[in-house]
Structures are given as structure tokens and as C-alpha cells.
């Protein structure tokens, strides 16, 4: 099957890959290593120049590092470039990192704020077209195209998932049902009545839909779903199996982050063995989050991404805080793009507590500012009914133990108040005996999230 759609320069053409899916832009998706490397370096230099000329933050950073944008020649040079962090985005809130005049920025998305300011991302018209192509590649790899109905149950709005999948689906030429999230019964009715063949939502919502389908007496055969695109939260292969069995589809993982424009950074082919990074548009590295040096291929570390083609808001060596590995082994599907593993965690695992983003590092900062508290602590998150509850466990050493209950209670209240003033949520402090908090060999397990069943 071969269908041509779209008129823009980046428009694609569906061509079968080797495992039952399709390429959207076969030439780009199958570039040789040499061609890809050259393309990346040329695009990187252009991106650096754009940032240098238009974003004072990057001009200063590059000047400080003594790097001229046109002097970056090879991947080795990339390691000398400065990093960008989420903190930098917040510091330049809202539009301080835009590289284009506002007249050329046609869309703005924003992620939920953590300690105040949300993370803002801007798009030029070209950025949006490019984004559409990257999502079209994602969907095509799952084997869908014109004639398929994509039920898009990602939330529409400031969140990049909904609109990202929406325009990618339209660019690919399938029929998009912009149902957004929630209203599960209607989801199921329309899924059946309209004959949705593809589903896009978070993996947890897919599980919820599967459960609801069973409860409402839908047989898998009533729902013609073939493939699902699930992302925006980490999920395991165990969950993949559950979703696939319950909904009778191929469950594919997709990866992105709002800072990079949203979904479309990486996607699984039907091999389901790692997500192909759109390397012609994103330069990826894995670093050791402590030494900041690149790690050898295959080792787990922090994913660092540089945008190669985004113009409204280029980001250089952005530290995603996602921990994963990269594989450059050839894939059976025929794509030459490197594959990233499912993120195994985050360098800074953000918790969402009653809708508020909480970083364990924030809790640690509060605790470690109180001299009596030992460096052993644990954060325990649980759900009581519909409410998330957070406990912070700390060990009572000689310095805390003041001899009367009043002193202990006063200490508890003091810690709770300090946590509240930073996090804006009530956290229960739980005093434990010394050495009762598990010590880990290697990386400490600071967070126990009992809400996660998978």
C-alpha cells in the first residue's frame, strides 16, 4: 500500500516496513549512520546559531564555554556544549528562551507547574508541521493510515498529548475522534459504534477502559481496536500484556516531553523492543547524572536531548531526568534510528500528590536543612479512598529525642510545617527508631509509592 498525502515539504508517504507497520518518511527513517551523522551536525550548527543569535541565555552560555556555533563538527564536540535544565526554563518564564519573534510563534503549550511557574514551550508554524510528521511516523509504525479511526483519549488543552496526537493523526490521514479523556462509558460506546481501530491515551487509562469494557459487557470482538499508542507516563511490559489481552490490540509505547514539543521524540515499531528516536530531529545522549559524562552504549543514564529542527524554542542538551539506555543495534523493522529503552525511572522522580507535583528532592531539601535529621529517610505515598497521603519517615536519633512527648510532637509539627511551606500539601511526619528505615546497597530507595499496583 502506498498513499501520498499532504502538500507541505515534510509530508510523507506510507510504505510498508519489514514488520507489518509502515514508514511515513522512509528516506529519513532509514538513513545510513554516516548520512544521519552529517545531517545531525549540519542541523545542530544551524540550531546553535539560531539560539546564539536570538536567545541571550544561550549566547551567554556559549560565550562562557568559548564555543562558536559553526565550530561544532562532530559528536565529540557535542559533549562540550552547555546543558539546559528545567530550572533554566523556569528562570526564563514565560517566553525568555524563544528564538523567534512573537509574530512567528503560533502556539504555546505549558506543563503543570511544580514550584510555581509552569514549563512553557512555543511553536512556530513549521514546528507544528514537523510535530505532525513525527506523530504521523509514530502512528504509521503501528500500521494505521487513511481509513483507520484514531480515538484520541489524551487530554486536549495545554497538555501536549491531545493536540499532538490529533494533528499527527490528521497529517497521516486517518480519521481522528477528538474525544479527549474521561467519560468512560461514552468512550466505549463511540469506540464500538464508530469502529475505532486505534486508541491513544495513557496506559493507565487504557487499563481503566479495558476494565470498564468488561464491566459493561463488551466482548473484545465488539471493539475492532488493532493498535494503541500509550505514553505520558512510565509503564512496564507487564502492563503491556494486560492491555493487549484485555483490548485485543498491539500496545505501543511512545515517548516525548513537553519541553521537546510533546510526544514524537521516540516511538515503538511493532517489534516492541525499544523506542526509535527521531534522530534526524533530536540528538540524544545518555550521561551519568553525577559526573555528567557520556556513558558507554547500552548503559543506563540520564537522557539528554538537543532539538535539531525546532525553531521557536531550540533547546541544547536538555537534561530530561529520565533514566534509560540507548541501543544502536539494527532493528528488524528496517528503521536505522537508535532505540531508547523504556525509562527505568527518573533522576528526580516527580510525584503527583492530590494533583500537586512534588519532587522528592524538595522534601529532601527541607529535611536536610534540619540539622537533627539523619540522612536516612523515606517517603511513603499511599491512597486512602480517593485521597493520596504522604508520609515522611525519619529516624529519631539522640538529637531529636528530647525526653518528653511534647518535645517529639513539637519536632513533628515543626517538620510538617516546613514541608507544608515548601510543598503546599500536608505531609505526615512519622518518627521511627534508628536503623529501621531500610538501607539500600547502591541507589537509595527514597520513595515507596504504594499507589502503583503494576
Amino acid at each position: 500500500m502506498s498513499v501520498t498525502t499532504g502538500t507541505g515539504a515534510g509530508a510523507g508517504r506510507l510504505v510498508a516496513d519489514k514488520v507489518g507497520g509502515q514508514y511515513w518518511q522512509r528516506e529519513a527513517e532509514t538513513l545510513s549512520t554516516g548520512e544521519l551523522g552529517e545531517l545531525q551536525m549540519a542541523r545542530l550548527r544551524a540550531t546553535l546559531q539560531l539560539a546564539y543569535d536570538n536567545v541571550p541565555f544561550y549566547r551567554r552560555k556559549l560565550d562562557e564555554a568559548g564555543i562558536r556555533p559553526d565550530a561544532v563538527r562532530c559528536h565529540g564536540d557535542v559533549q562540550d556544549l552547555p546543558f539546559t535544565t528545567k530550572g533554566d526554563l523556569r528562570d526564563h518564564y514565560p517566553f525568555g528562551l524563544f528564538a523567534l519573534p512573537r509574530t512567528e510563534v503560533v502556539r504555546v503549550h505549558a506543563s503543570s507547574g511544580t514550584t510555581g511557574n509552569p514549563t512553557v514551550v512555543g511553536y512556530s508554524r513549521g514546528d507544528l508541521e514537523l510535530w505532525g510528521d513525527l506523530i504521523a511516523r509514530t502512528l504509521a509504525a503501528g500500521g494505521i493510515g487513511p481509513g483507520d479511526l484514531l480515538q484520541n483519549a489524551y487530554g486536549y488543552g495545554l497538555f501536549t498529548g491531545g493536540l499532538g496526537l490529533h494533528f499527527g493523526g490528521e497529517r497521516l490521514g486517518c480519521t481522528v475522534l477528538p474525544i479527549s479523556g474521561g467519560n468512560t462509558e461514552r468512550q466505549l460506546k463511540l469506540m464500538r459504534d464508530f469502529g475505532a481501530t486505534a486508541l491513544a491515551c495513557t496506559p493507565s487509562y487504557a487499563l481503566h477502559l479495558a476494565e470498564a469494557a468488561r464491566d459493561h459487557g463488551y466482548a473484545p470482538a465488539d471493539l475492532p481496536l488493532r493498535v494503541g499508542f500509550f505514553g505520558a507516563e512510565p509503564w512496564t511490559n507487564e502492563v503491556r500484556q494486560q492491555i493487549e489481552q484485555a483490548l485485543g490490540l498491539d500496545a505501543l509505547d511512545i515517548y516525548g516531553l513537553s519541553e521537546m514539543g510533546g510526544p514524537g521524540v521516540a516511538f515503538e515499531c511493532l517489534c516492541k523492543d525499544g523506542m526509535h528516536v527521531n534522530e534526524d530531529h533530536y540528538l540524544v545522549e545518555i550521561i551519568d547524572p553525577h559526573t555528567l559524562a557520556n556513558v558507554p552504549e547500552g548503559e543506563v543514564g540520564e537522557l539528554v536531548v538537543t532539538t535539531l529542527t525546532r525553531r521557536a524554542q531550540p533547546l541544547i542538551r536538555y537534561r530530561t531526568r529520565d533514566l534509560c539506555s540507548l541501543s544502536y543495534e539494527p532493528c528488524a523493522c528496517g528503521r536505522t534510528f537508535a532505540r531508547m529503552s523504556k525509562p527505568v525511572g527518573r533522576t528526580d522522580d516527580m510525584l503527583i500528590i492530590r494533583g500537586v507535583n512534588v519532587f522528592p528532592s524538595q522534601i529532601e531539601e527541607v529535611l536536610m536543612s534540619i540539622p537533627e535529621i539523619e540522612p536516612h529517610y523515606q517517603i511513603v505515598v499511599d491512597r486512602q479512598g480517593y485521597l493520596d497521603v504522604v508520609e515522611v519517615w525519619i529516624e529519631v536519633g539522640e538529637d531529636i529525642f528530647g525526653e518528653t512527648m511534647g518535645q517529639l510532637e513539637k519536632f513533628e509539627r515543626m517538620v510538617q510545617q516546613r514541608l507544608y511551606s515548601v510543598l503546599n500539601i500536608q505531609v505526615k511526619v512519622r518518627l521511627k527508631e534508628p536503623r529501621t528505615i531500610a538501607r539500600s546497597e547502591g541507589k537509595a530507595v527514597r520513595v515507596i509509592d504504594r499507589r502503583r499496583k503494576a
Binding site: E398, G402, T404, M405, L408, R430
Partner: protein, 137 residues
């Protein structure tokens, strides 16, 4: 005439109190008086023992958090108004009492989760006092 009291931080887990008394018992340290405070998740055990420093070291070695404090022990006349006389002296001078407890170890009152089962278990092993006997003390 001050006395050193040993205080122990205890998490509210079953058997934890018994661990403390086992450690002291095996070391030949006789508990002469004690009190516990109750809280949902943890409590404080206060002990009067002959060698508080030694007892503290033993417990510290076993991972307990402890504290030594100075307290005053009073022989209160066993008659109506006996305790009141002591407290009146303190109250007159506005000396507040953080806590107080009895350290005569002859008869001890327990509040237990499963009181009926506890009675069945203890009966025959130790002498339990009847309501009447307690009233006559």
C-alpha cells in the same frame, strides 16, 4: 538527692517493649520503676534502674535511642492527702510537673488491646488482682 532516669524512644510495634525488658533482664538489671506514654505510632518508656548508664549503653548498642534525665523520687505517705502535700509545695512555688509516675513495682496496671485473651494467658502464670483486692490496697 536527684535520681537519674533512663528514657527510651519506642516505636509502637508489638514485642518492642519486651525486647527492652529482655535486654535489661539478661544483663541482670532490675527495673525498679517505669512508665510508658501512649501515642499512635510511638511512645516513650521511662525507667528507674540501679545502673542507668550501663542500661543506656546496652540499649544504645541494640539500636535504641535513649536519654538520661534527672528526676526527683519522693516517698509519699500512703494516706489520704499524701500526694497532695508534695504537689502543694511545688504549686506554691510555681514549679510545674512535666510528668510523674509511681515507681513501686508491686502492682502494675496494664491497658491492653485484647484484654480478655490477655487475662486468659496470664491467669495461672502470675497473680492477677481482683477488682476487690485493688480497692483494698
Amino acid at each position: 538527692m536527684k535520681v537519674t532516669q533512663l528514657t527510651v524512644f519506642l516505636e509502637n510495634r508489638s514485642g518492642r517493649l519486651a525486647e527492652v525488658t529482655d535486654i535489661l533482664g539478661k544483663a541482670g538489671i532490675n527495673i525498679r520503676g517505669f512508665s510508658t506514654t501512649e501515642a499512635a505510632e510511638y511512645g516513650i518508656l521511662r525507667l528507674i534502674v540501679p545502673e542507668p548508664e550501663k542500661a543506656r549503653d546496652l540499649l544504645n548498642k541494640e539500636g535504641f535511642t535513649t536519654h538520661l534525665t534527672e528526676v526527683v523520687c519522693v516517698a509519699v505517705p500512703d494516706e489520704p492527702g499524701g500526694l497532695a502535700r508534695v504537689l502543694d509545695v511545688l504549686a506554691e512555688q510555681e514549679i510545674s510537673v512535666d510528668y510523674m509516675y509511681s515507681i513501686s513495682l508491686q502492682n502494675i496496671c496494664f491497658a491492653l488491646r485484647d484484654i480478655d485473651r490477655a487475662v486468659e494467658l496470664l491467669k495461672g502464670r502470675v497473680r492477677l488482682l481482683s477488682d476487690e483486692e485493688v480497692r483494698k490496697l
